[in-house]
Symmetry: C2
Subunit: 229 residues, 2 copies
């Protein structure tokens, strides 16, 4: 945890996730694809464990056993457990961003696009079992752990969320230029929407009665007015 300067990804293609580049770059001399496969096996094993246990409280040993790899191999690709969780989180966010862009593409009006993004993002971050697609991973434990990561490694988390942040910023910008909302600063407005939508699950945790919990729609309504629509 000392001066861990980010290694420059000299040969990376820009579409590659950042953490993947970082993890793989350590063994760049060897076959790159093989290394990526190994990394992916760790990730798959961790996802499975999270799905089964419903929490991120798995042990490294379990990941090793599940992935049929060695402890040594694990620490060759990940500096520690946090980095593995960070990778999972980054993976999740990347997948979310792709899905969100699909949802947004179905709308044309700026406000409708923003709304679609917010609603879908809410579903991603507070996955009810009913809305979760079959075969998809359970994102809730990762969502929950992300707050701890945000305290310990804010820069990393910020970078991981970036694809979603960028999309939200674009949409808020669109809506602002179309005059359908009126905000002083699009960046701050986007940041607020992001936080409210992504972490409303947190507030809901503190409400006992399920009937009283905030839905995606209600959260969006609040944001909508906050944006001065």
């Amino acid at each position: 945890m000392d001066s861990e300067s980010v290694e420059a990804p000299a040969t990376g293609d820009a579409k590659e996730p950042a953490w993947r580049q970082r993890a793989v770059s350590r063994s760049l001399n060897a076959a790159r694809s093989r290394a990526e496969q190994r990394v992916q096996r760790f990730l798959d094993a961790a996802f499975e464990l999270i799905d089964e246990k419903g929490t991120t409280d798995f042990t490294i040993q379990e990941v090793i056993d599940r992935s049929k790899q060695s402890l040594r191999g694990f620490y060759q690709y990940f500096h520690g457990k946090d980095e593995l969780l960070l990778a999972l989180f980054e993976d999740s966010m990347l997948e979310s961003a792709i899905d969100l862009r699909e949802a947004v593409a179905e709308e044309t009006e700026p406000l409708a696009r923003l709304r679609a993004c917010a609603i879908r993002l809410h579903e991603w971050c507070e996955p009810a079992d009913s809305t979760r697609k079959r075969g998809a991973h359970n994102r809730r434990p990762i969502s929950e752990f992300s707050v701890q990561l945000a305290v310990a490694h804010p820069e990393r988390v910020k970078a991981a969320i970036e694809p979603v942040s960028r999309l939200l910023l674009e949409l808020v910008g669109e809506a602002a230029t179309a005059k359908t909302i009126s905000v002083a600063d699009t960046r701050q407005a986007a940041a607020l929407v992001q936080q409210i939508v992504m972490y409303s699950w947190f507030g809901n945790r503190l409400i006992s009665d399920p009937k009283m919990r905030l839905t995606a729609e209600q959260t969006w309504e609040f944001c909508l007015r906050g944006l001065g629509a």
Copy 2:
């Protein structure tokens, strides 16, 4: 962590914090005041350590040494480290609520009262060193840890926040009946305000540039519009 049913505080006076009753009730037969003193020494020691280290990553041993008490005594009053942190959090929230009510009392207009509460609450939850009173404890580490507690013990955290929640609900209710805001459900509106204000520090963590971070005023502005003022 098995079936830990909350013991009914049969003889408690209602102004006593819940956790204190719980911790003390285990040795109710003995002198109550002495037990409370001992509990308080643990709390003081923990607060000191948090202030010095700027984090909740102290060890139980450090609390023992600092408070000049025994490990056994610690586990006699607290079921574990989480319960100690919970107690600190509950203490903080209680103190906040008192301070917030003072701030609110200086205003008469419903909306001004709500605003005063929101601004002050924001200062409590994201304590800049400049606004922190001399001699007061550093609340940020506890704020940060509270998100973990909320994941692990939502009911406890909910109970701890309750004094603040109640105040917010009252104020939102006042403003709603005065027609200065228009919300469908006061409970949900209050919950939203609470979450946005109390945890905006979290979103700010993900913003590198200090100039871009959301201030109490800006957060309040957003809430204000969200409330349909």
